[in-house]
């Protein structure tokens, strides 16, 4: 079921990405100046944090399957913290850009950048809510049995969100470096 949801969300992000690539890289107003305002160094760090959260979630899942509920809870908490750090990092990037007058309404770049990364961030946020629900369920003792598929299901969603970020990060942050070089 979650794979169907991932399927449909893939198309949504594809639409946003297509719009981004067309307008930022091929539009009449090539956004080279604004692209230079992006900080790839800090964002790379936060990217690693997000990818790390995928790993921690995976560890949590393995622990659940082995029956280590305490470890499950610990690693879920770490996952949430890492995810939250990522969002804080995104927020920081937004704050910086807005201070440099790059906003949603300022330019083509602003429009596309904030939309694409914003929807991704929103999906991360929803993911954090879902994982928090998982954590609550774990604390309420719902995962004593090893037969539940809930954790694995949420895991697929969370890994999907990370995979999307890898694509978005490449297109938004990495690609300009190759084009300018």
């Amino acid at each position: 079921m979650i794979k169907m949801l991932v399927f449909t969300e893939v198309f949504f992000f594809l639409s946003l990405i297509m719009a981004y690539v067309y307008m930022v890289y091929y539009g009449d107003t090539r956004s080279t100046k604004e692209l230079q305002a992006l900080h790839i160094s800090t964002t790379s760090l936060f990217t690693l944090v997000l990818l790390g959260s995928s790993l921690t979630f995976y560890i949590a899942e393995r622990n659940y399957l082995k029956g280590n509920i305490k470890q499950l809870k610990t690693w879920l908490i770490i996952t949430i913290i890492l995810g939250a750090i990522f969002l804080v990092g995104q927020g920081n990037e937004y704050y910086r850009l807005i201070n440099e007058q790059i906003t949603l309404g300022a330019s083509i770049f602003g429009t596309n950048f904030f939309t694409l990364t914003g929807f991704h961030g929103f999906h991360v946020f929803v993911g954090l809510i879902l994982i928090s629900i998982l954590l609550t369920m774990a604390f309420l003792g719902d995962f004593k049995d090893k037969n539940s598929t809930v954790i694995q299901t949420i895991g697929i969603y969370w890994h999907f969100v990370d995979a999307v970020w890898i694509v978005v990060f490449t297109i938004v942050y990495v690609l300009p470096l190759t084009l300018n070089a």
């Binding site: 399927f7 449909t8 949504f12 067309y22 307008m23 949603l104 330019s107 929807f119």
Partner: protein, 554 residues
């Protein structure tokens, strides 16, 4: 006779009786696929009447040249809402209605995979539609057409909030469609009766299955476009404003990436219904199940490669136009093959002219006609002449009404006995059929000519050029015939619920599993079902001397 207990809910408490004491509350809180299916169908019927009313208003305004029955603002809102209503609030809910009721029955399941998601999907569709219509009370409905082109849909050209209600209402209903589709896919994959392979499901189930993937892939493109226009309108982003570097064409691309698959989303389930109807009322297996099934997959895949044929006159260049001409013509092949298959099903059969079958036969001719005008539009230079005229209005109504809606009517008459335990009134049904079919063809056949003499679409009035007035008037008469037919249908439904001829489990002598359970089943559809060995399990049961799995027809 091998009988197995259907999964899921093998452990389900008998809970045989739906709580009928609490009436409305029971319906509102129901998670039973049959009740949700009926609610979807009622929603669809309600909006069919509303959308039809909008059409009658339009046709009244267009009955004579230079008419002043409706102001341009009123007319533009009404034609926008007519299109939006029919596509999103009539076609989609009807598909989910029949799908919800019938798919579990046809695969021998006791409910959908996710009953609560099912209920949620219905209610958010309902409220999305409500929000869309609320716009009339909040300053006016959307008035930029159902495809809502940029930059007309931007805040500086459409300052009232109608467009916002359009965007958000559709985003909400879209969530319902996605939820419903996920439900269908998981149900069909996991809850088939024992022995029923995926290539043995009834063709209606198969169509719903393929359709669900189409919905999952197409609706996000619309959602992205709607999100973008709201960003433009509310936060002054620059997606579609060319003055600030945006692209008016980006909207068209995103919209039609959704829009073209959407028309197949509206059609495929009706293809499924007709496949069932042709099979049952010709007393023969459907001709080449494999072709009909595989061609729908081909159509689904190809439907994502043809969207520019809505944009041939936009100036994208000869190369692009040629490519999409090729792909659009290509998609005619799997569609045409289906028509031949249905005809071949009838050939050599023993045809009973029940009302569903009458709709099916009318459909064949109307759909062939509409399909041919569609091929005309794939021929780019012809499109350059006729797009955005009444010729294209005629074309797509032949497909939508003469195709998809006729399928829904066939499904209604076919499955009414299963849903209510009574037959839908035969005499009123015949009146309805003839009134509607003659009305429909009167309305739209002449619109082809109107397009050829140069009448553009979406005009609230027209000058008194030769022939325009007469032809429009004839079209209006046809529309009112359809309106009267609709009244007949509503009367027929209300009458048959109370006084219709009582039907048994299998009034049509059909061959698929839904006719095995009781009519209007209680909470649990099946206690036992036969082991499925072919595509026509009931045929096998009724003809043990000549079952499908023994002959080569499987």
């Amino acid at each position: 006779m091998d009988e197995t207990i259907p999964a899921p809910f093998q452990n389900m408490l008998p809970a045989k009786v739906l709580n009928r004491d609490q009436k409305l509350l029971q319906w509102i809180s129901s998670v039973d696929h049959k009740q949700i299916g009926i609610m979807y169908l009622l929603l669809s019927l309600l909006f069919l009447v509303i959308g039809g009313g909008e059409a009658l208003l339009m046709r009244t305004q267009l009955a004579i040249p230079n008419n002043h029955f409706l102001s341009p603002e009123a007319y533009n809102q009404i034609f926008t809402m007519h299109g939006t209503t029919m596509v999103f609030l009539v076609a989609m809910p009807a598909i989910f209605g029949f799908g919800n009721y019938m798919v579990p029955l046809m695969i021998g399941a006791n409910d959908m995979a996710f009953p609560r998601l099912n209920a949620f999907s219905f209610w958010i569709t309902f409220f999305g539609g409500g929000l869309l219509y609320f716009s009339f009370l909040a300053g006016g409905g959307p008035d930029a057409g159902w495809f809502n082109y940029a930059p007309l849909n931007e805040y500086n050209y459409s300052s009232r909030q109608g467009i916002d209600y359009f965007a958000i209402g559709l985003l909400l209903s879209g969530i319902g469609s996605v939820g419903g589709s996920i439900n269908f896919i998981v149900t069909i994959l996991n809850f088939r009766a024992k022995g029923m392979r995926l290539n043995q499901v009834p063709l209606f189930v198969w169509m719903i299955f393929v359709n669900s993937f189409l919905i999952l892939a197409a609706f996000p493109c619309l959602n992205a476009a709607l999100a973008m226009i709201e960003m433009d309108r509310q936060f002054h982003a620059h997606f579609f404003n060319s003055a600030s570097g945006g692209s008016a064409l980006l909207w068209q691309h995103l919209f039609w990436l959704f829009g073209h698959p959407e028309v197949y989303i509206a059609m495929l389930p009706s293809f499924g219904i007709f496949s069932e109807v042709f099979q049952t009322f010709s007393r023969k297996p459907i001709f080449s199940y494999a072709i009909i099934a595989s061609s729908s997959v081909a159509i689904a895949l190809l439907s994502f490669g043809v969207w520019v044929h809505h944009m041939f006159a936009v100036g994208l260049g000869n190369t692009v136009n040629s490519f999409f001409a090729a792909s659009s013509m290509l998609i005619a092949i799997p569609t045409g093959i289906k028509v031949f298959s249905w005809v071949a099903t009838m050939y050599g059969g023993s045809i009973r002219f029940s009302i569903p079958m009458m709709f099916a036969i009318a459909f064949l001719i109307q759909f062939t006609f509409g399909g041919l005008t569609g091929v005309a539009f794939a021929i780019v230079p012809i499109d350059w002449q006729l797009t955005d005229t009444y010729f294209v209005v005629a074309h797509f109504h032949y497909m939508f009404v003469g195709g998809a809606v006729f399928g829904l009517f066939a499904g209604l008459f076919y499955w009414f006995p299963k849903m209510t335990g009574r037959m839908l009134d035969e005499k009123l049904g015949k009146w309805f059929f003839w009134l509607f079919t003659i009305g429909f063809n009167t309305t739209f056949l002449i619109q082809h000519v109107l397009g050829l003499v140069g009448m553009p679409r979406r005009v609230f009035t027209y000058p008194d050029l030769p022939g325009y007035g007469t032809m429009n008037f004839i079209s209006t008469i046809g529309a009112f015939m359809m309106g009267i037919a609709a009244i007949v249908l509503v009367i027929a439904i209300m009458k048959s619920r109370k006084n219709g001829v009582v039907a048994g489990k299998d009034p049509w002598d059909a061959v698929t599993l839904e006719w095995y359970c009781d009519p209007s089943p209680d909470r649990k559809n099946f206690d036992k079902i036969p082991l499925v060995k072919s595509r026509r399990p009931l045929w096998d049961l009724k003809h043990p001397e000549n079952p499908d799995w023994k002959s080569k027809i499987n």
